[in-house]
């Protein structure tokens, strides 16, 4: 194998997932399935990414950005879990990958980027926190625009209203989940005991849907009813990404402890009292400064104290102005 290690850059994880992005998750899962020796860099800074998005696989000076490109590159380097499949099963992989892209992806794009509630409550805050300052101002907006274009151009049209598009997209996604569930049946993975690239893709698409705290979740509810799909996602998380689960549990424990220590009211704003005092102090001092500068309050220490000092001299210089203003007002 190559002497140089492959580097995979992905979006940071959350909610017990190694990454929040379906495509990053798919590539991560593929690498785990086949044991690719890859150095994973979890980041929120897409400055160096050629497309402004993740995943990016770098190896020998080349960068691969699309999931299909990454898969085919890894396959070319003889890393992959698809070699065990028969030609028929490989054909199924192509077909079901297309199904996911055609039916499930538009719904996910809609859910994350076009559904107002999810976008405001989950997506935008998350990316605003993850992406460093100047990029965070326009990257989420750009991604949102792309998602809107994609959904509207492929599923909508001039003669279809937004509501109809939305209904159509979610209906198709639910049907797609049903089809996947039928295909999976009672098997451990789609094609028996070994995970394939299709399983990686399915895991990538479904895991965020299952784990993220989504406010509007008709798709989430539908997914929960497909027991076998949920089982596969959870199995993969436990088997291949135990570190992230542990991280989440630790985070949860910490938060629980915190909320025990502080009264329930304050748990959301831990420094509430300090902030209130600071704000009050700031307001008071600002008012005092204004009052002093406009002459409502006059400080006449310098007039009483004749001792010459650098401080008093500055006071002296201002003093008359203050007095004048005071006089002018009176």
């Amino acid at each position: 194998m190559a002497s140089e290690k492959m580097k995979l850059e992905v979006w940071k994880g959350d909610w017990g997932l190694p990454s929040v992005d379906p495509h990053c998750l798919a590539v991560l899962a593929y690498c785990k399935y086949s044991g690719v020796p890859v150095e994973v860099i979890k980041t929120g800074n897409p400055w160096r990414s050629p497309t402004g998005n993740f995943p990016v696989l770098r190896h020998k000076g080349e960068a691969y950005c699309k999931v299909t490109d990454i898969f085919s590159y890894l396959r070319k380097e003889h890393w992959g879990s698809d070699f065990e499949l028969s030609t028929k099963q490989s054909a199924d992989v192509v077909a079901f990958s297309a199904l996911l892209e055609e039916k499930l992806l538009p719904a996910l794009l809609h859910l994350w980027w076009m559904d107002d509630k999810t976008f405001l409550d989950v997506t935008r805050p998350w990316y605003a926190r993850a992406i460093p300052f100047p990029l965070s101002l326009f990257l989420p907006g750009r991604t949102q625009k792309k998602a809107e274009l994609r959904v509207n151009l492929t599923k909508g049209g001039e003669s279809i209203s937004e509501m109809e598009t939305e209904a159509k997209v979610y209906k198709e996604a639910k049907e797609c989940l049903n089809l996947l569930s039928h295909k999976l049946g009672e098997k451990q993975y789609m094609f028996g005991r070994l995970p394939s690239s299709l399983d990686a893709l399915v895991f990538g698409y479904l895991a965020p849907l299952l784990k993220a705290p989504l406010p509007n979740n008709q798709l989430h509810n539908h997914l929960i009813q497909c027991d076998n799909l949920c089982r596969v996602v959870n199995d993969v998380l436990v088997t291949f990404f135990p570190a992230d689960l542990r991280e989440m549990e630790e985070k949860k424990k910490k938060e629980e402890q915190k909320s025990k220590n502080i009264s329930t009211d304050n748990s959301e704003f831990p420094n509430r009292r300090r902030n209130m005092i600071l704000a009050g102090f700031f307001a008071l001092s600002a008012m005092a400064a204004y009052a002093w500068s406009s002459g409502l309050i006059q400080i006449q220490i310098s007039d009483i104290d004749p001792a010459p000092s650098p401080n008093s001299r500055t006071n002296n210089r201002r003093g008359p102005a203050g007095v004048e203003a005071g006089v002018g007002q009176s």
């Binding site: 028929k88 054909a91 297309a98 199904l99 892209e101 492929t154």
Partner: protein, 259 residues
């Protein structure tokens, strides 16, 4: 099967179906096949026509120059049943199955899942490839697609409308990340798709089971177009010839259902 299909459509239909089944007048609208229709639309129309023929529905084809503008979604083909208009392949299939014309009702769930997966593979890869070749390869656009698309309109329109359509397809291809592909890459994608189909068909008469299904209709629509289209440089014709069983399949369907 029922788990896959939409219940809301199925539930309301039972009242209508009995009286309509016999004297049902299904009209399939499309553009003029010989002079006007473009490559991607032709494939879709053929797929629907094949489906209607396979399911044994009585229907007649109406050719209209403005079929795309008459369609509720702006896409051809669409069918008219009584006062209802239904456009595009999947909704038409679902509508027909709600009326009792379902080709895949005897199949196990897993086969149905596979069927729809392959249908969306054809939609995803072959439709995109057809759009790409028809609207993004300069020779084809100038010699075939634009003159055909504009043939029904008088002078300034026969220039403006194809141009607008081309821009629309460009946007669609860009957002689907196909615009940046070269023709070779597109042909590579088509080859992957055809190979998958060829594997799936193997030596069987139909793709799934002993009877034709929706998948057979869609495959026929696309493969027939790829085989018979006469385009400058003819990028696809030789490609299909690499897969003998698909070619045979196409001939078989044509001789059985189209005469």
């Amino acid at each position: 099967m029922s788990g896959v299909l939409d219940f809301s459509e199925a539930s309301g239909s039972s009242i209508l179906s009995v009286s309509q089944k016999r004297s049902e007048d299904v009209i399939l609208y499309q553009q003029y096949q010989v002079e006007q229709i473009t490559l991607p639309d032709y494939a879709q129309c053929l797929a629907v026509e094949a489906f209607l023929r396979m399911s044994g529905l009585n229907f007649r084809v109406e050719q209209r120059t403005n079929a795309a503008d008459m369609s509720p979604t702006g896409k051809v083909p669409f069918i008219q049943v009584g006062s209802q208009l239904i456009a595009e392949f999947e909704p038409i299939v679902k509508f027909a199955s709600s009326k009792g014309y379902c080709l895949s009702k005897d199949l196990p769930d897993q086969s149905v899942a596979e069927m729809w997966a392959y249908v969306s593979m054809l939609d995803n890869i072959l439709s995109n490839a057809e759009h790409y070749v028809a609207w993004m390869v300069p020779d084809v656009v100038a010699e075939v697609t634009k003159p055909r698309y504009g043939c029904a309109y008088p002078w300034p329109l026969n220039w403006i409308l194809p141009w607008m359509k081309q821009r629309e397809v460009h946007h669609l291809m860009t957002i689907k990340e196909w615009a940046s592909k070269s023709l070779e890459e597109v042909i590579g994608e088509v080859r992957i798709c055809l190979r998958a189909l060829s594997e799936k068909l193997d030596k069987k008469t139909f793709f799934l089971g002993p009877k034709p299904t929706e998948l057979d209709a869609v495959v026929f629509g696309h493969i027939y177009i790829l085989l018979t289209s006469k385009l400058p440089g003819s990028p696809f014709n030789s490609l299909v010839s690499e897969f003998d069983n698909l070619k045979e399949f196409c001939k078989r369907i044509e001789s059985t259902y189209f005469f």
